[in-house]
Amino acid sequence: MSHVYLATAVVLLVGAFMLLYRAIAGPTVYDRILATNAIGTKTIIFVTLLGYISGRTEFIDMAIVYALIAFITTIAVLKYIEKGRLD
């Protein structure tokens, strides 16, 4: 089974590489937010898979923290873009 986890992990990493290209090159500001949000989701899946690769599956709390952080960071960035202020 571990080769399946490893293969999925590598595919996710390659996906993250592509998204990073969009995050850097992205013409409009919104492409960058989109790419950052997508990389956030990919890292959440990747963390869970790392738990399975290393055999210690009880570290899923990491994934929940990633999900919350990615969501809140995206909301903060969007508020800055839309309203120009954070409060």
Binding site: S54, G55, R56, F59
Partner: protein, 152 residues
């Protein structure tokens, strides 16, 4: 010299540190420098945590003993570097917060956050004070000369 495969990891951390160092030196923008400092720090953290890894080891969180045997038999990684880096990350965010507050004050004071512009402004102020100082000294000398004539 141990074989390259074993220590190429450390070279990547050196590369990260140097990217951070380059950012601090080359970029005049103060915020860019604050971020580059963060990169430099992360390179150092990577260096510490890679020392803690043991081949085939797992996270240093012991698993409870079930019917007499440790659930997870394998060796555990060394917990000490993790503790040091845990503290260092939180302190580095505090440093970043204070640095950003100072940058905001610099922006309000100088109107810009480009280090070279700020330097130029400082030099201009210093030059102006110097010149003003010279004028005042010259006026004082002239005065003393006048007073001298009255006493004679």
């Amino acid at each position: 010299m141990t074989d390259v495969l074993g220590i190429y990891n450390y070279w990547i951390y050196v590369l990260l540190m140097m990217i951070g160092l380059y950012g601090v030196i080359a970029k005049p923008n103060l915020i860019k420098q604050a971020i580059a400092l963060g990169l430099f720090q992360t390179g150092i953290f990577l260096y510490y945590i890679s020392m803690a890894v043991i081949d085939g080891g797992t996270a240093p969180i012991w698993t409870t003993i079930e019917h007499g045997a440790q659930k997870f038999q394998g060796p555990y990684d060394n917990p000490l570097p993790h503790v040091l880096i845990l503290t260092a990350i939180v302190v580095s965010v505090s440093v970043l917060a204070v640095a950003l507050a100072l940058i905001i004050n610099i922006k309000r004071q100088y109107g810009t956050i480009e280090a070279d512009e700020i330097e130029a402004m400082d030099l201009a102020d210093k030059a102006r004070d110097y010149v003003r100082g010279q004028v005042v000294d010259a006026a004082d000398d002239a005065e003393t000369k006048l007073e001298g004539r009255h006493h004679v």
